[in-house]
Amino acid sequence: MGQTLAEKIISAHTDLPVKAGDLCIARVDVTAVQDGTGPLTISEFKKLGIAKPKNPSRMILFIDHATPSPRKELSNSHMVMREFAKETGAVLSEGGMGVCHQRLVEKFVNPGEILCGADSHTCTSGALGAFATGMGSTDVAVASALGKTWLKVPQSYKICVNGALRKGVFAKDLMLYLIGKIGADGATYKALEFCGSTISAMSMSDRFTLANMAVEAGAKAGLFSTDEKTYDFLKENRREHVFRYIEPDEDAEYERVIEINAEDVQPMVACPHTVDNVKPISELGMVKVNQVFIGSCTNGRIEDLRIAVKLLKKQKVHPNVRLIVAPASKAVMMQALKEGIIEIMTYVGAQIIPPGCGPCVGVHAGILGDGEVCLSTQNRNFKGRMGNPEGEIYLASPAVAAYSAVCGYIADPTEVL
């Protein structure tokens, strides 16, 4: 019997080949923590009585959730992370360098590897053909110390997407459509494995968006085969030498196969307060917005900013709307500066904030007021997510977000694209 992507990658990290359902101890190549989970990882790590990570140069500590620090308690947490990196040789990604998941794919994770990250959206790196999964601080502390973790090899769902996405429809819409179809717990414990002509034609940026939100269906990982697009992405980041072909066997066994015709997908939104509460915008009715956020590990890449600026150019942000933009990383910020995107966005009325998680985690830089509505390109709209349980969050693509910031209400940009 052939192997799925999950079985193949995990088997390359165990002493004996594994199949779905097996419990195994797997070698871990990379571990990651951020400033919300890192301090606890460090205190658990210290309890183990092990001086250094198994492979210090591949344990990465990211300061991205609350930077520049809005409170002394968080500044102190950042100090703990800096100190640990200095003591042990672990790598520190300072504030301003970007969101951990974007940085991981730009610099730190290679196809075919296993990544354990103390952040649920660690699954983003799955688009590079890595088995990347979110865990808690204690699991990541142990994985960092020993260079291994225990895993139950997941059953896989094959997500086949074929055909061309319609004008105005993006990877975000496709993922919201899928999550709406299977539900927020529709893939709990499973790996989603994406394939089909739509996926092959998709940019890496779009694939990262899909992989990023695998966890919003409960999945353990969102996996992709590698191809020339993966190679080109690595090359752009000057690390094509880590490229390798990873693909599932033709006779791999999937627990479920979900076929999606790309042409069926319309511009979508997820309505408050769950990600699976999705609707096509055409069925939404009038929803006025107070704040629009373009950014996050889901949709804060240069391709996202390019689409957004196309809709913002020669327009003005609606007077009743605050538009906040956070490039996902320093590299994205630099590119956006070079292309004049930041200048145009600033001119039309956007507030540009430093690369990082921004308002998505509800710590700073865009907390909602009571009863306010935010349309965001992020991945979660849970009650309280953006710092106020009395706020309402809708999720959509960068195109919908930019156009809605101009209109003052949630609007479908298809006609003006």
Partner: protein, 165 residues
Amino acid sequence: MLKGKAWKFPDNISTDHIAPGRLFHLRSNLPEFAKHVLEDADPEFASKVQQGDFVVAGSNFGLGSSREHAPQIIKLSGVSAVIAKSFARIFYRNAINIGLLLLECDTDGIDAQDELEVDVREGIIKNLTKGTEITFKPLPEVMIKLQQDGGLIEHIKKYGDFQLT
């Protein structure tokens, strides 16, 4: 034998309900954070929960973020177990790693304030208020092992490595 009152919650209780992002700065002060546990799902819960009580919920409890602070502060609030129809994956792993007991079963027959008695060994929840009994799904072997050792850190300290397979 565990005994306490049920606090009832619906489906899809996220880690943002349990440990809100706006209290991010309290992650370095868990006893203080615990005073706000589940605040966005039930503002009265944290101040009224008694030692030994149970959190009883619907499906997909603990979805969302990987923040281990969520099970940590449920445990710190004195809750002896979370009983739900199903749990989100990362929350489940985190809870076992830190020694918070999770029980999976149909929770429709449990209402808020019902008196429950849980026999972990027998796998039975007795609803003393209603006079009914519910069996819960046995914990997976690996989870029992980790629980017996007192969580993942203690397990590794004891063996110097994983002893699970």
